[in-house]
């Protein structure tokens, strides 16, 4: 249950609360460039969602088994040449950025070849956007996010494959959502009298600012949801209230409180 609620929270966080475009500002180039018509925007969004999931999956596998400090595969390969205690310290994390960018580039190539061969109809609709995606920062950002949750946290909180994939997929959904909304607005903007200097990227950015303002309203939603999943907040504090005296005070009775006068003066 806790695992499931974690997944739901990650999904909502990636798609709405911390929307990649409107909160992290990644993937702005296609967001401005390919948001003139709704159908094009939708195609771009679908292509990004597709590639971002594949790239995040690959980068999780590579980070977990090869790149993180003390990764099993790196340790095993180093163990063939080096004594065991040195091999255990092998840390390839300095190579992460190079590896990620090549993972992205090759997965884009691979997806393109696969689609052209087996799903020509889909290839036709994706085709234009696929090469563009290589330089889409949203993909690299998702990989880096996954890396942060694998390398940068305590082992108990380390993300597995499923949370990483959820993050990436819903980040793609969030991107699609933002770009489609934007395209819808821009189709209407065509009929408006926009001041000449703002036509094009200028007005798009200002409208995205207003859109970001709207998305700001989602902030804090995950915290309420978390409370809902875990039960009510008062229940938690009540449990703490009960837990503290029973577990701590009878076993270890503290002597006189020497420092309480000091603290009281400090507080006032």
């Amino acid at each position: 249950m806790e695992y499931l609620s974690q997944i739901v929270l990650i999904a909502i966080g990636a798609a709405l609360i911390n929307n990649f475009v409107l909160h992290y500002f990644v993937g702005i180039c296609p967001f401005i460039g390919v948001s003139r018509r709704v159908d094009m925007a939708f195609g771009m969004g679908a292509a990004v969602t597709f590639v971002i999931s594949i790239a995040a999956m690959l980068s999780w596998v590579l980070t977990y088994y090869v790149l993180q400090p003390g990764a099993p595969l790196a340790k095993w390969i180093a163990g063939l040449f080096l004594p065991a205690e040195i091999a255990a310290q092998v840390d390839l994390s300095v190579l992460t950025y190079i590896v990620y960018i090549f993972v992205i580039a090759s997965s884009v190539q691979f997806v393109e070849m696969y689609l052209r061969k087996f799903l020509p109809a889909l290839y036709k609709s994706f085709g234009v956007f696929l090469p563009l995606i290589t330089t889409n920062c949203a993909i690299l950002f998702a990989c880096l996010y996954v890396m942060k949750m694998v390398v940068g946290v305590e082992p108990a909180e380390q993300w597995g494959l499923v949370p990483s994939l959820t993050l990436a997929f819903f980040a793609g959904i969030g991107f699609t959502l933002a770009i489609v909304i934007m395209a819808g607005i821009r189709e209407e903007l065509d009929h408006c009298d926009v001041p000449a200097p703002l036509r094009g990227p200028g007005i798009t950015l200002i409208v995205s600012g207003i859109l970001a303002l709207a998305f700001l309203a989602f902030t804090g939603m995950d915290r309420k949801l978390e409370k809902m999943f875990k039960g009510d907040a008062p229940a938690v504090t009540a449990a703490q209230d009960a837990q503290v005296p029973t577990s701590a005070s009878p076993v270890w009775k503290p002597p006189a409180q020497t420092d309480s006068p000091d603290t009281d003066t400090q507080r006032q």
Partner: protein
């Protein structure tokens, strides 16, 4: 065929080797400094978190706590899932390491993102001697006021045995409560919850830790 593909790729291979060597050099040269920086981020806060209560208590006047960073020990607890910092003060006498208190880490969700805090406790973990926010991503101008001394200082001297409460108006003295930042009640409550959870978790483990020492 092999020749021609090698002929095309030799430049890429050569560049890869050169960059690989450069990156290895970077890692060897700067890696230790980066590690040190990460360590310092926590350790720089430690003297501030414990000294207010105890330094006065020990010497009669506010002492300069030199050597605290070096003398502090890291003690794992909760089956190695968490680490507490057992803070010592290395006085003039090299043998006389004085145990000042504990610093523990707390982590939990805030309004916008994760909040990480450090909490200072006295020797018996009965009083909170300080609290500081290590990481936050709260709303600028509202939630991120949890990093101000005005907010953090409220935790100093609170009773660690009872959960710290949080209310909108100024609390009565001795009520074991803090005043929330106006307009950022959720962030303030989050910090309280994080502190309460971390302190309760640590206090539950303290008897076992003390037993290990003796």
């Amino acid at each position: 065929m092999k020749n021609s593909s090698l002929g095309q790729a030799w430049l890429v291979l050569l560049l890869s080797l050169a960059f690989g060597a450069a990156l290895a050099g970077v890692q060897v040269g700067w890696g230790p400094i980066i590690e040190q920086n990460k360590r310092n981020k926590t350790y720089d806060q430690i003297p501030r978190l414990v000294h207010d209560v105890e330094a006065v208590d020990l010497t009669g006047k506010p002492a300069k706590l030199s050597g605290v960073k070096e003398a502090t020990e890291e003690v794992p607890y909760d089956d190695g899932k968490s680490v507490a910092f057992k803070v010592f003060w290395q006085g003039k006498d090299p043998a006389g390491k004085v145990h000042l208190g504990w610093v523990i880490k707390g982590k939990g969700n805030g309004y916008a993102d994760v909040i990480e805090v450090l909490i200072g406790l006295d020797r018996k973990a009965e009083r909170i001697t300080g609290m500081t926010v290590l990481f936050n991503n709260e709303t600028p101008g509202l939630g991120n006021k949890i990093t101000t001394e005005k907010f953090q200082g409220q935790f100093r001297g609170l009773d660690a045995a009872k959960p710290v409460g949080c209310e909108k108006s100024a609390p009565a003295p001795g009520a074991n409560r803090i005043q929330a930042i106006s307009g950022a009640t959720i962030s303030s409550e989050s910090v309280c919850n994080i502190v309460n959870q971390a302190v309760a978790g640590f206090r539950a483990q303290l008897p076992a830790l003390n037993k290990k020492d003796h």
